[in-house]
């Protein structure tokens, strides 16, 4: 094949279009895993972020180490470890035969991997709330929990919105690694179809184009939203 022919083959959308239903149902796994792990990462990240500001040094140290460790762990290593090692360890401790569903493993790993980043965003958001607001809350007799719930979190959440949108986009990109533990997501199906058809050029090229377009569009939406929130004085 000459270079030009190869380029034509790579950009030929026919094969990709022919398998659109299979690929789309694969992509729905990416969306599902993204949605679940985004919720998980947000919740864990929020708890860790609050714990990192605790007045108890042991809580603070534990939460900070958690965030540091998982921010520096490759997602793939975490995924593989949770898939192969974690069930054995839990099985030995409880004395039962534990098996995890790959999707559960993928959601949990991505949630934990990104909760480190989210905790940092939360922490920064909380620290950005003016101290005077907290003092005002105290002086009108609000409890610590009430100050957190009514004064700090609403303001912190608004401040961290733009940053967390970017993290959600990164998380969405990372969902493509779940194919490596045999979840039948978009890339897994691309590899399967490639094996069947022996035509790797168009499939891999179009998978790259589709992912790239989707993420560029999402980034645009995120930027527009952030700009609007900033103008409205929310973020």
């Amino acid at each position: 094949m000459t270079t030009l022919q190869a380029l034509g083959e790579a950009l030929n959308p026919d094969l990709f279009w022919e398998y659109r239903n299979v690929l789309l149902s694969g992509f729905s796994y990416n969306l599902l895993i993204f949605a679940l792990s985004a919720v998980g990462a947000t919740v864990i990240g929020m708890l860790i972020g609050i714990a990192r500001l605790s007045s108890n040094w042991a809580v603070r140290a534990t939460a900070t180490s958690y965030a540091e460790i998982f921010r520096n762990t490759p997602e793939y290593v975490l995924l593989v470890w949770a898939y192969y090692v974690l069930p054995i360890i839990i099985g030995r401790i409880t004395g039962t035969n534990v098996r995890f569903d790959p999707i559960t493993v993928a959601v949990a790993s991505l949630a934990v991997a990104y909760s480190g980043y989210f905790s940092e965003t939360f922490r920064a958001g909380i620290l950005a709330v003016p101290k005077a607001n907290i003092e005002a809350g105290m002086s009108v007799g609000m409890s610590g929990w009430m100050i957190l719930r009514r004064l700090v979190i609403p303001q912190a959440v608004r401040r961290m919105l733009p940053e967390s949108l970017n993290q959600y986009i990164s998380l969405f990109k990372s969902t493509s690694i779940v194919s490596l533990i045999a979840i039948e997501d978009l890339m897994y199906r691309v590899s399967m179809i490639t094996m069947e058809e022996s035509r790797p050029l168009p499939l891999y090229t179009w998978a790259a184009i589709v992912f790239c377009t989707a993420i560029v569009l999402l980034t645009q939406v995120a930027d527009r939203l952030s700009a609007r929130w900033r103008r409205a004085g929310l973020a």
Partner: protein, 225 residues
């Protein structure tokens, strides 16, 4: 437990070490390539109006495509279309460099744009050529300002490099997975390798933080983390 560690990890230390060397080799090459290409893309975007949109498209493509997708794309499509890379290691290096060059181009751009306009105007008033202004006035400041982000990007490259094992680059992750396949005892191997990765990546991030603190103290630069 120690028996298992001995049998699975310590007796295969040479294999894991070869893997670590491959990881380091791939990451170093990818990082250098990404720095050069990222700087070129950034300079083209800023100073070559005719190619501005090509550079933006390149940067956005690199930043917006997942690593696994780029890796498989470079590995299977590039040899047919562009005639290179000939080896899986080459494909791994190029894919990692692609990803990072997009991020680094944006890092360089924000660094260049952060430089006080007055510096450039002063250089112009003194009659320095644009190339010389770039080399003597702009780049030294950009490098100082960017050093922490650059090193941080090295940590990102290290993290992403675990994925090159997917296309059979014999890196640390690949050797670890092969050992697991052979012994069917994943606990010790995978845990040791995970700890090793975390230790290396944490050290690199820590160095980046120390350097940014050092520069802030020494030159009074306000470095965004």
């Amino acid at each position: 437990m120690l028996d298992n560690l001995q049998r699975n990890v310590l007796s295969n230390l040479d294999l894991l070490l070869t893997g670590l060397l491959t990881t380091i080799q791939v990451c170093t090459q990818a990082f250098l390539l990404a720095t050069v290409v990222g700087l070129a893309a950034c300079l083209i975007r800023l100073y070559v109006p005719a190619l501005k949109y090509a550079a933006i498209a390149y940067i956005e493509f690199c930043r917006s495509t997942p690593m696994v997708v780029q890796l498989l794309w470079v590995n299977y499509v590039w040899p047919e279309v562009f005639g290179f890379p000939g080896t899986v290691i080459g494909a791994g290096v190029i894919a990692l460099a692609l990803q990072s060059s997009g991020y680094l181009a944006e890092t360089f751009r924000s660094g260049i744009e952060a430089i006080n306009k007055g510096h450039r105007e002063a250089a112009m008033a003194l009659g320095l050529s644009p190339a010389r202004t770039m080399r003597r006035i702009v780049l030294p400041q950009v490098v100082l300002e960017m050093a922490p982000s650059l090193i941080n990007q090295l940590a990102v490259v290290l993290k992403s490099s675990t994925l090159v094992s997917v296309i059979a680059v014999p890196d640390l992750m690949f050797q670890a997975l092969r050992l697991v396949d052979r012994s069917l005892e994943p606990i010790e191997i995978l845990s040791s390798v995970a700890i090793l990765y975390i230790a290396v990546i944490t050290s690199v991030s820590l160095i980046s933080k120390l350097i940014s603190d050092h520069f802030r103290d020494k030159y009074g630069l306000s470095i965004k983390q």
